[in-house]
């Protein structure tokens, strides 16, 4: 035993968390792995509950082998007692050197000497008029419903936004037999071309994307503007949109899935003491680390919670962060130089992708005053702009005044749009509008469950 008594905790059991655990285990360290999922895999390699029978090929398509390899690796480590695994457990707070989590058996404190955060990402959302209606979901939700439950969230579906998930989810739904009315991409054909040189760092993926796009045929529309969801009490009835030639059109539907690529999930990273920089390419605040993922004393980051590189990049980043952790513990760690080169190539591709399918900053800045920006509490763009007039162009100030970012999602789905609106109103850059300070608990906790075990 060379690891001494140092305790390593990994948060998240997606591709990054699983590979980080693997590296630690092979160096003789037994990590604690805390994960919100019922089974390890994360979101993109999410597994259905017991009793479902579709094959990995049906669930994960071309990525089936990678998904199965990760699932088997992690299950084997758990079965062999090599990791201490806590599924269905939410870390709510982090106060160095402890995490405070809600597990199925109640509240639990996890002390750590070193912390690897592999918390992944969520959809990055921009407000669309009417998006607070029931029956409007994120693109990620649309995919999770299909993959983990075998269902479509509506009879007649419109998918809108931009990014790799838009095309992927559309083709998966079509293949499964769902009815899609339209796929609306806010990125224009020429914008997509501008991202192509970077994306050619992974030519196989570009080809696969183009083939998927071809399958969508005339359902797919690039360069869409001025979307608005018309809804009745039950939910969407249609979505209005302006096509690339400027004509207004409408698509009847009872479900809309929206999303603009991904947003790093960074709440715990912030509570653990990480610093952040606004990344103009990915149009969001991302944690500052060295190239091995070291973010603060004894804190390491990996996966989409650090850089939006997707599942392949997350596996590599998970290994790298674990290696940094091992070498800081004084243990022998494998050489990371090949992984670092691989990661650099993935990043060229991912930055090309971010350029091809950008955050719709102009659309967000022009959000009509009566459009809801904060879904949690129904706060409109107009109220947010009034807050800027009253208190100035700083995100945390505006949050205190009008509560954008204070609701149950804790700003996950309004922060980036809010910053854009504040910047436009105050005539400043979006990074000068500032980043919301995270507060624990990062997810709501039933007070009974919390108090009972105190």
């Amino acid at each position: 035993m060379t690891s001494g008594a140092e305790k390593v905790v990994i948060v998240g059991a997606g591709p990054a968390g699983i590979r980080a655990a693997e590296m630690l285990v092979s160096a003789g360290v037994k990590p604690v792995v805390i994960d919100e999922g019922m089974k390890a895999g994360g979101q993109i390699y999410r597994r259905p509950p017991d009793g479902f029978t579709r094959s990995p090929r049906e669930l994960y398509g071309t990525e089936a082998d990678k998904a199965v390899a990760l699932h088997m690796l992690f299950d084997r480590m758990v079965a062999d007692g090599l990791v201490d695994y806590y599924p269905q457990s939410s870390v709510l707070a982090c106060a160095n050197p402890s995490l405070y989590a809600l597990t199925p058996s109640g509240r639990r404190e996890f002390g750590y000497d070193r912390l690897i955060l592999a918390t992944g990402a969520t959809d990055r959302l921009a407000p669309v008029p009417g998006w607070q209606s029931p029956g409007v979901y994120s693109l990620g939700a649309t995919q999770i419903a299909l993959k983990a439950q075998g269902v479509a969230l509506g009879q007649r579906i419109v998918l809108a936004g931009s990014g790799p998930l838009l095309t992927l989810v559309a083709t998966q739904l079509l293949k499964a037999g769902a009815e899609i009315a339209a796929v609306l991409d806010t990125s224009s054909f020429w914008t997509q071309m501008a991202g192509l040189p970077g994306m050619l760092a992974r030519p196989g993926l570009v080809l696969r994307g183009l083939l998927m796009r071809a399958k969508l045929g005339r359902l797919y529309h690039p360069g869409v503007k001025n979307m608005g969801i018309d809804a009745d009490e039950r939910g969407p009835v249609s979505i209005r949109w302006q096509d690339a030639h400027g004509a207004m059109r409408a698509s009847e539907c009872d479900m809309v899935g929206i999303g603009w690529h991904l947003r790093a999930e960074t709440q715990l990273a912030s509570l653990a003491g990480c610093q952040f920089d606004y990344d103009t390419g990915w149009a969001q605040w991302l944690p500052r680390t060295d190239r091995m993922g070291r973010a603060a004393e004894g804190v390491y980051l990996a996966g989409d919670g650090l850089r939006i590189l997707g599942a392949d990049g997350a596996e590599v980043a998970g290994r790298i962060a674990a290696n940094a952790c091992l070498s800081d513990m004084g243990l022998a760690a494998p050489d990371s130089s090949a992984d670092l080169r691989r990661l650099a190539r993935y990043e060229r591709f991912a930055r090309g992708m971010a350029r091809a399918f950008p955050w719709p900053a102009d659309m967000v800045r022009k959000t009509p005053d009566d459009t809801v920006v904060c879904r949690c509490e129904g706060i409109t763009a107009g109220q947010l702009r009034d807050g800027v007039d009253f208190g100035g162009g700083e995100a945390n100030r505006v949050k205190s005044l009008v509560r954008v970012g204070m609701g149950r999602c804790q700003g996950r789905y309004c922060q980036l749009a809010g910053a854009e609106l504040i910047a436009a109103k105050a005539g400043i850059s979006v990074f000068d509008a500032g980043r919301l300070r995270e507060q624990a608990p990062v997810r709501p906790a039933p007070i009974g469950a919390w108090v009972r075990d105190a």
């Binding site: 999770i144 075998g150 269902v151 479509a152 949690c376 789905y413 039933p446």
Partner: protein, 104 residues
């Protein structure tokens, strides 16, 4: 309590041979399949999970990955659960509004 429209928003595309599960939604008996999340189970029979506290609209979940917190609903015993990340079980008694008399 208003009766629910017996039309859900969920369309089952596959995996429909799973055993059935019975639960109550606002007092009415409903049926789902073993392995359904509470969200899938409810939205198979109904078009909503709850009423928004801040606006006129109903809510039916949003992210399905435990991040947005839109889908917390009530149980008859007063406890709450996140519908997207909890599996439905036989005999669950679920509510789309707070139980009568809450807060106690």
């Amino acid at each position: 309590m208003k009766p629910h429209p017996r039309t859900g928003r969920i369309v089952r595309l596959s995996e429909t041979a799973r055993p059935r599960v019975h639960f109550h939604l606002d007092g009415s008996p409903c049926e789902a399949l073993l392995g359904d999340t509470v969200l899938t189970a409810i939205l198979s029979s109904s078009d909503r999970l709850r009423q928004s506290e801040f606006g006129p609209e109903r809510r039916a979940g949003f992210c399905l990955m435990g991040a947005c917190q839109d889908c917390w609903i009530w149980q008859v015993d007063g406890g709450r659960l996140r519908a997207c990340s909890t599996l439905v079980t036989d005999g669950m008694r679920l509510l789309t509004e707070a139980p009568a008399g809450w807060p106690l």
